[in-house]
């Protein structure tokens, strides 16, 4: 009896809750760390990026108006679904990073735990970042954090899973949607993550994943008038980062600058969440 031939996966993009190929029809070869062929990944184009922004705008409407409790549960659900597919993530990370099984397990566990950590923040942010303000007059005055809107992000080139989750989760927790370019050379854990997102009650369009070349797509996203913020964490080319920040000035986008050599295992703190929230202050007179 002949050995069974395995069924291999076609790796596609993740846009608006669906898994389309790149409209450009392009793919690129992804190799293991030892150079052997692993898969072909979709190479997203400028048009794909624009479609993703369209989906993300719809996504943030539903997501930011969901209750904080609901968002927290959905983010926690992502951790639950990932836990169920832990062996696949370990295999993906091992293939991508060429690390030992134990190192891969450590990264996957940290990534799952990171979702749990951020899930808990969803219904606490307003209390920690918001305030009741004692103005000098007969007014009730309070400030609350709100989502910035659509964020375009570049995940770090290393830590193909943990780095990606560490960029995506803090953007989502306040109600933003995201268009993210994962590690170009190690994109497959991102697509496995997309399969978890698609089955975790994350509304369509809230997360959009574009595999390919950040240097090709980001200039369009940094200029795009319907993108509210850009996260350049994973941009390693200084000249590109500067150019993107300059483009972002066109519509006064919020910019988080590159962060080379970040320790993804460290306590993330609130810094990333703060980068992508707005403070809204509401006044009302008091009287009878």
């Amino acid at each position: 009896m002949s050995e069974r031939v395995d069924v291999r996966k076609t790796y596609k993009l993740y846009i608006g809750g669906a898994f389309p190929r790149s409209e450009s029809g392009r793919t690129y070869e992804v190799a293991r760390s030892d150079g052997t062929f692993l898969a072909n990944a979709a190479k997203a184009s400028r048009k794909d990026a624009r479609n993703a922004v369209l989906a993300a705008r719809k996504g943030t409407k539903a997501w930011s108006s969901a209750t904080a409790y609901n968002r927290g549960q959905v983010l926690y659900r992502i951790a639950e679904v990932m836990e169920g597919r832990r062996p696949q993530f370990v295999a993906d990370v091992q293939d991508a990073d060429g690390c030992s099984p134990m190192q891969a397990e450590t990264e996957v566990d940290a990534a799952i735990d990171r979702w749990v950590w951020y899930a808990g923040w969803a219904d606490k942010l307003a209390q920690v970042l918001g305030s009741a303000n004692p103005v000098a007059g007969p007014y009730f005055n309070f400030s609350i954090p709100e989502a910035t809107g659509v964020v375009a992000a570049v995940a770090p080139p290393d830590a193909s899973l943990l780095g990606l989750v560490s960029v995506v989760a803090p953007i989502l927790v306040s109600g933003n949607s995201i268009v993210v370019v994962p590690s170009t050379t190690k994109p497959l854990p991102a697509i496995t993550l997309a399969e978890c997102l698609a089955t975790s009650d994350v509304p369509a369009g809230v997360v959009n994943i574009l595999t390919g070349d950040a240097a090709e797509m980001m200039p369009w996203l940094a200029e795009h008038a319907d993108v509210n913020a850009i996260d350049l964490t994973g941009v390693t080319d200084d000249a590109l980062a500067t150019e993107l920040e300059r483009s972002a000035a066109g519509t006064i986008k919020r910019v988080r600058r590159p962060e080379a050599g970040a320790d993804w295992y460290a306590d993330p703190g609130l810094s990333r969440i703060r980068s992508f929230v707005e403070t809204k202050t509401v006044w009302h007179p008091m009287g009878v």
Binding site: V135, S143, R246, G250, P285
Partner: protein, 497 residues
């Protein structure tokens, strides 16, 4: 019937304006190295008030170096408790000299003395008083256990609230342990120069606050100086864009408070008399030279005619004229250039088919004046509904349903403020949640307080001024920079101060 008012002018004898001013660098007024001189005028009379120095690039460098030295040697290492007392001193000095400062502000800016006396100056003092108390409590502000200063802050402010904008910038910067180089607007430098004298009276260490007068070129040289750690700008969105491009690729922190085109939304159940007062205050306060002005009035269709009639009746009672007169409601436009811009945009309203109504009032012969103006029949495509006019010009649009009001209110690249008028509490909160704006005034408008964060969504900028949120932009909370803090002389115990 109409009432005649006897003139009630405030005396200007309380101010002593010098013929010319140098630059305030390292604790003293000095002559420019490579700059020039320009005149500042009273916009209500076109009288020249003084000759002001336009700082050159070398002056900027000298001021930044003074600020750096003061940061490293004195202000950065000083305990929060001691810093706090200096800032309290400043608050008290402003209270003591508030009459003088109010008169100076009105002479240089053109705003009614009633506003500079009753709004600007009390808020200026309150702002310093509020942030003074933060200086020794930073570790309790929620930015981590050991927030540190950023270093030298370059601050560029506009002409509409000259001293108040200075307070919004300088107070949180000093509380956080930063030193400051501030450039006031070219048309309103006098109160910033008076503030330099207050720093002297407070015995503030030299170099902690430096004041560089000048125009756009001075501002550009300042924000692009390589030894600046933090840039804060309030002004037009266009200049904000240029500054953002200028700091791209550096490690400078940036906050921007830019333009606005706020919707002031009035529902049919609103308390109409209160709403009319709010509309008037929303757009004609400070001659409409307010970035958060309620410049787009959205009236529910069923009450539109009645509200417009009431509004016009009320505007007929506004008194326009001598800003130094205590009865004056509407003062002078700040400059000839601004007057031209307002007139050009108002003309576009005529050209595009909106209907202009002008308040019946006599304009003085000299100075820069524009009468309160209301455009009805405005569509969302009109320039007067899209562009910031920054003058006493109100554009009126209508809506039928709450959803339509939300859609129209948010249909702008700006997002600084919004107003909501209705008696229904649930509708206020429903509307407030949907406004893409940083400040929402419900059944009130144009209220400000040092404890209340102010700042925009979208192209109105980012970062907040005021409140606990206003401290963040002046603090370094990144663990990555910890080593740098040690290197420039902060001991470990001091880092936690």
């Amino acid at each position: 019937m109409t009432f005649e008012y006897a003139p009630a002018p405030e005396s200007r004898s309380i101010v002593d304006i010098a013929d010319s001013y140098g630059l305030f660098i390292d604790g003293a007024f000095v002559d420019t190295i490579d700059g020039a001189q320009f005149k500042t005028v009273n916009p209500a009379t076109e009288e020249v008030l003084s000759s002001i120095t336009e700082a050159g690039a070398e002056d900027v460098d000298r001021a930044v170096r003074a600020a750096r030295r003061a940061y490293e040697d004195v202000w950065g290492p000083m305990s929060g408790r001691e810093r706090s007392k200096y800032i309290y001193r400043i608050a008290r000095l402003i209270q003591e000299r508030s009459r003088e400062l109010a008169v100076l502000e009105t002479l240089d800016n053109g705003k009614p003395i009633r506003e500079s006396r009753d709004v600007d100056l009390p808020l200026v003092a309150a702002h310093f008083f509020y942030y003074a108390g933060w200086a020794d409590k930073l570790e309790h502000a929620g930015f981590g256990p050991s927030p540190r200063p950023l270093g030298v802050a370059a601050q560029v402010i506009p002409w509409n609230f000259p001293l108040l904008m200075l307070a919004w910038k300088v107070a949180p910067a000093l509380a956080g342990g930063n030193t400051v180089v501030l450039k006031p607007a070219e048309t309103t430098p006098l109160t910033a120069l008076a503030f330099a004298d207050i720093c002297r009276q407070a015995d503030l260490p030299p170099g902690v606050v430096n004041i560089l007068t000048g125009a756009g070129a001075t501002g550009r040289a300042l924000v692009e100086h390589p030894d600046v750690d933090k840039v804060a700008f309030t002004g037009s969105t266009e200049v904000g864009r240029q500054i953002m491009k200028g700091v791209a690729g550096t490690t400078k922190r940036l906050t921007l408070e830019l333009g606005g085109k706020a919707a002031n939304i009035v529902f049919d159940d609103a308390p109409i008399d209160q709403a009319i007062e709010g509309i008037v205050n929303g757009i004609f306060f400070n001659q409409g030279h307010v970035c958060c002005a309620g410049s787009r009035l959205l009236l529910q269709e069923s009450i539109a005619d009645e509200a417009i009639a009431s509004l016009q009746r009320r505007l007929g009672t506004l008194r326009l004229g001598d800003p130094m007169d205590k009865n004056t409601d509407v003062g002078a436009i700040n400059s000839a250039a601004q007057l031209e811009r307002i007139a050009e945009l108002a003309d576009s309203g005529d050209a595009e088919g909106a209907m202009r109504w002008t308040a019946p009032c006599q304009l003085p012969d000299r100075g820069y004046w524009f009468p309160p103006t209301v455009f009805t029949g405005v569509t969302q495509a009109h320039r007067i509904a899209r562009e910031e006019i920054f003058g006493p010009v109100l554009s009126v649009l209508t809506f039928r349903t709450p959803d339509e009001a939300v859609e129209k209110a948010n249909n702008t690249p700006y997002g600084l403020s919004a107003g909501i008028w209705t008696e229904k509490g649930s509708r206020i909160l429903w509307m407030a949640a949907r406004m893409r704006a940083g400040v929402v005034w419900a059944n009130t408008f144009n209220r400000f307080d040092p404890t209340s964060p102010f700042g925009g969504y979208k192209e109105s900028g980012f970062g907040r001024e005021g409140g606990i949120q206003g401290l963040g932009p002046y603090l370094n909370t990144d663990t990555m920079d910890y080593d740098n803090a040690i290197r420039i002389g902060f001991g470990v115990s001091e880092v936690a101060r």
